[in-house]
Symmetry: C2
Subunit: 203 residues, 2 copies
Amino acid sequence: MYPVITISRQFGSGGHSIGEKIAKQLNIPFLDSEIVDRVAVESGYAKELIEEQGEDTSSANKWFDISAASAMYFQSPQDEIFLAQRKVILENARKGPCVIVGRCSDYILRNAEVNCLNVLIHADMEHRIQRVLQRYGDIKNVDVRKRIQKKDKQRRTYYRYYTDQHWGEYSNYDISLDSGTLGEDMCVHLVCELAEKMSQNNA
Amino acid sequence: MYPVITISRQFGSGGHSIGEKIAKQLNIPFLDSEIVDRVAVESGYAKELIEEQGEDTSSANKWFDISAASAMYFQSPQDEIFLAQRKVILENARKGPCVIVGRCSDYILRNAEVNCLNVLIHADMEHRIQRVLQRYGDIKNVDVRKRIQKKDKQRRTYYRYYTDQHWGEYSNYDISLDSGTLGEDMCVHLVCELAEKMSQNNA
């Protein structure tokens, strides 16, 4: 049986697209919008808010200030979304093999007695800028480099806040790949190869 | 043509043995004792000293103090060994595909216009302790955990001193693998698979 594959990725590294291709190639579910749908039901929050707050601190920085001051007394909307996401991720991972991108899934599943393959996808800034420009087109009045740096910071802060660990520590991953030097398809191939071998060893 | 494969590794992660197996499987040179032999000729220092000082600071901590104080005036033996090693690594890498373990080879080759595949092998402390005990037997009066931590620190210091970068930053590697969770053979298989694909793409 294939493992549950968690993919942590730097913004602009192509991790989302790599995860989608891996799921397609192994013919296992790719959990993305399904998580948002289920979290909306669980938490009662709008899908748009969940998409925005599901793994970035972004505009919710004010919530972080609130929660730092009063975390003892109540849960912030972001806390509630995190907990609902956690529940949905655990439920899905226990059902069987799937690919989950981001959302601290590596951390959430670490003690869940689920056979996991934790993947990190990264790339250098130049490759990421190229990728963001290709994907979103030439964005006027936006400094792409600054946008990437901001997104990285938001994800790091989110991860740090909910896991008390540093994002992107290589020791947290079974395999880390540079999608800039290797290319997307090579990353897909290597992770699928690894998942195949793991499933043979478990058979 | 296969790339030049550099392997950085945590002490006790099996990186040396993995590198040896990769070289054997791809039928390309594995550079280890050959480097020491050539550096001995280049630098005039004894092989034993080169083996000891070739990538660890170990007992040479005093040299670091000396070189910090007087780096403007003369080269320490360790500096001379580093420079001789650098020369030998560059010469060999320019000759053709090979596997080089440690010795800041990833950093040394970064601008050498050599097609490189930079690999990091790591593992958690428990796996590393088991491996060191298996390899060196039950060492009496030695705290293996402390020995591993000390070796890590020495390599980090050496790398930091000569490259001005942090050792083990995932962004410096094309692929990072956890030999503890994946096992040695899986690491060998994945790196060979990657080298094969790279050679096909370059053909």
